[in-house]
Symmetry: C2
Subunit: 245 residues, 2 copies
């Protein structure tokens, strides 16, 4: 347990280091504010954990994990905008467009996206990530349009970014095509469980949400059996089912 906790701390330290924004962009303050607004870094941790499970060098690939967090944060900034979900607060702090301005938030979100892609070295990772990000925006569109197909919305809006995180880790770690496919499927199931628990924590979960979350978590755990050195990922997957925030 101590050992595992240390691993999580190590991952988080690597991610924070790789997220440090250099340069003198006029959008730096808005970018940093959003990056440091209390995100749990679950997605970049998944990237590093998959990378390490397949024998990759997590120090070398920390920028890829940081890129995933940048992409995730850029979508959160956009989600909170008045024309989207119109949320003034994010994780107990003013949303980026309230702390700064709507235009700052919009520009910071796009700036972060290009910064993220810039940090990705492997063209296969870039292609995979851009494909998943396209799905995220399709999912937002369906969600805002009130699509009744909740599963499809979750698959696009939530799962795709988690799948991007996992698949990026596998490619960075040198995993095979079947390992990539396995991480894609794992991310799908983890993403659904994650979103259902989010719904429950937001008081919005439907009646069978808890049972469904358990079902998808079990499926995710089953898929992890094919992953080498899967102790950390197994533990994390179980923890995410029982998280309280």
């Amino acid at each position: 347990m101590d050992n595992k906790q240390l691993t999580m701390d190590n991952y988080l330290k690597l991610i924070e280091e790789a997220l440090a924004i250099n340069g003198d962009s006029p959008l730096k303050e808005a970018v940093q504010y959003s990056l440091n607004a209390g995100g749990k870094r679950i997605r970049p941790v998944l990237t590093l954990a998959f990378c390490e499970a397949y024998g990759g060098d997590v120090r070398k690939h920390a920028p890829a994990a940081a890129a995933i967090e940048l992409l995730h944060t850029s979508t959160l900034i956009q989600d909170d905008l008045p024309c989207m979900d119109d949320d003034d607060m994010r994780r107990g702090k003013p949303a980026c467009h309230k702390a700064f301005s709507e235009s700052d938030a919009l520009l910071a979100a796009s700036s972060m996206a290009y910064r993220a892609i810039y940090m990705l070295e492997d063209p296969r990772i870039i292609k995979a990530v851009c494909g998943y990000m396209g799905k995220v925006y399709d999912g937002q569109k369906l969600d805002l349009g009130g699509s009744p197909d909740t599963l499809r919305v979750y698959e696009l809006k939530t799962c795709a970014l988690i799948q991007a995180a996992c698949v990026t880790g596998v490619i960075a770690g040198g995993g095979s095509n079947s390992a990539i496919k396995n991480a894609h499927d794992y991310g799908y199931n983890l993403g659904l469980a994650f979103q259902l628990i989010d719904d429950i924590l937001d008081g919005e979960g439907h009646e069978s949400a808890a049972l469904d979350a358990e079902k998808y978590t079990r499926e995710a755990l089953k898929l992890l059996e094919a992953v080498p050195n899967n102790e950390f990922l197994t533990e994390l997957t179980k923890k995410l089912l029982h998280r309280k925030n």
Copy 2:
């Protein structure tokens, strides 16, 4: 002259083919609307012209040129939003957020960006393009903040995307590092001339704008002397100085 006109037509045909949006994204309509709203395709033409000048296969690299147009269009959609320049019209047609909705416009712009990067195969091009795109957003921020440093704003906001177009072409065409640097400098000068003429056509140009536009065009033409097979680019550069829209 006929021969040159044919080349432009050929470039435009290749670009339109590469811009055709496949798949069934729920954002497809908004993306297509904006792509077909009368853009002159100057940036992707620059990409193909540089590519061909350095001996590259323009058919093979048409997707890279299309990607540049997607990126350009995504910034125009964002520029027109109420929290940005708040323009209801773009090239005589309703802006994307008026024809659709603000959220559709925002989502389509991001979706186009990822689609664009997905179309770029060469990691050197991706890195260059993402670097330039970061500058575009920095420039928007300075511009909206009312920066008095007009040259700096133009350099970031306008020149960077034109430089991305030129540099992408050179890399796709197999040009050397010094050819890349030369295209970067050419794009800077063409970008300044382009923006100054835009200002004049918008009735906003300062007193010496026309003279400055000529000066930067002369500089751009001088830089083209180092480019092989530069007839098309030379002609285009001169035409852009005298354009009426």
